[in-house]
Amino acid sequence: MKRFFVLLMLAIAGNARSGSDSVEVEAVLKRDFRPRGQATMDRVPQDGLQRLCTESDNKPPPALARQLEADQMKTIVYPQGSLLGDWKNGERLAQGGRGLTWSDRAGGPNDGSCYNCHQISPQESSYGTIGPSLLGFGKKRGNGAEAQRYVYGKIYNSKAYNACSQMPRLGHSGTLSAEQIKDLVALLLDPASPVNR
């Protein structure tokens, strides 16, 4: 923690201009934005990671990136038992895009919005390309305990593996439940899932 704090201070001191930029932008957002539905104003202040990623143009110095990732890793809560859920429900979650906007119902149910950015099952040809293709993911990466733990963690908190990843922290942000993440793990890893057939 102490080391992290020192690094944080170094990062901010070394980039003072952009540091004040974030403060300025945050003040503008507080002044010019209003709460609507579930999108309340407590969403405006940046957390430490968002600030450091913004200020470093998403390229923090390697030592700082490792420390940020280690801190994010500590947020991941793994459920007891198998991490492989139901791939069919995983596919439904991957297709859907509900969750956390001011026009979505507060409290869910939420989806994963996965196809917005990733190719996943070969049957779905309408997929985004902001994230990598996940076609054949389980076949390529294996589907053992280690792979399950990685995929669960990556969905729960993508920043634990890549500090300034553009992927939302779907578990950490409260978007998806443990059961839902397990279903998405199955979509990527279950041999019966269309992703791996």
Partner: protein, 262 residues
């Protein structure tokens, strides 16, 4: 009517997503002689000339930057700094200013329904269509010399890259790299003139997918919705700064809207 029939045919067609782009191009060809945007332009002309508000006057004396009532080329030179308001304004912000000053309407009343739906467009949407149409063929040349114009551009740039909210998004999360898509929708890399130019030259626009006319203020609003952020206030400095950033990045392109989009 012909376009409605065609639209239904497109939506019903199998493989809509893959063929969407081709179909929209075909649609755009088909309607070249009678764009649905024209209906909004006509309604906008009526609203421009209609006496309204406590002062019971029309907007015909509204100065959009080229002098009171001058519409030819006005849109292509926005956003810009206005001395009377001492701030940078985009078209919709300026229209709101004229509604409150000339017509004597309250800000609350004039902004009660800035974004319409498929049943009924908003006053702002129709006015935007009418005014933007009178810049067709004129290169986009937003103000970019006044210190407040430069300030707005800088603020817009910072907002564009600022990550916040429960999903950690900035505008650049979707619009920061070349050749990316969300589902089948291609995403312009808006900090790059090459990609910003065709965008700023075609907003505001008629949206084929929901039969609505959409303005640039709406575009900012709906991006923030999808970023899971609270709602930007209509015509706020933040929205104008982003529009300033995008428009300056896309300057030089002859305006060819109000067009049609997916």
């Amino acid at each position: 009517m012909r376009f409605l029939v065609f639209l239904l045919a497109v939506v019903a067609a199998p493989g809509f997503a893959q063929d969407a782009r081709k179909e929209i191009q075909r649609y755009q060809q088909m309607i070249a002689e009678g764009s649905p945007a024209e209906l909004f332009e006509l309604e906008g002309e009526t609203l421009w000339k209609k006496p309204q508000g406590p002062n019971n006057v029309s907007l015909e004396r509204c100065d959009l930057g080229q002098g009171p009532g001058v519409l030819k080329g006005a849109y292509a030179r926005l956003p810009r700094y206005f001395k009377d308001a001492d701030r940078v304004m985009d078209l919709e912000t300026r229209l709101l200013y004229c509604m409150t000053t000339l017509q004597g309407r309250s800000r609350e009343e004039a902004t009660r329904r800035v974004f319409g739906n498929d049943d009924r467009p908003s006053e702002m949407e129709s006015l935007s269509a009418y005014i933007a149409a009178q810049s067709r063929g004129i290169p986009m040349a937003p103000g970019n010399t006044h210190p407040k114009e430069k300030e707005a551009y800088e603020l817009g740039r910072k907002l564009f890259f600022h990550r916040a909210g429960p999903w950690d998004f900035s505008c650049a999360s979707c619009h920061g790299e070349e050749n990316k898509r969300i589902r089948m929708q291609e995403l312009p890399m808006l900090a790059q003139p090459k990609y910003a130019r065709p965008v700023v030259a075609t907003w505001p626009a008629y949206r084929v997918s929901n039969s609505q006319f959409k303005t640039i203020q709406w575009r900012m609003n709906d991006c923030y919705r999808q970023m899971r952020m609270p709602e930007p206030v209509f015509a706020s400095e933040a929205t104008v700064a982003l529009i300033q950033f995008l428009t300056v990045n896309g300057k030089g392109e002859p305006y060819r809207g109000p067009g049609t989009k997916r």
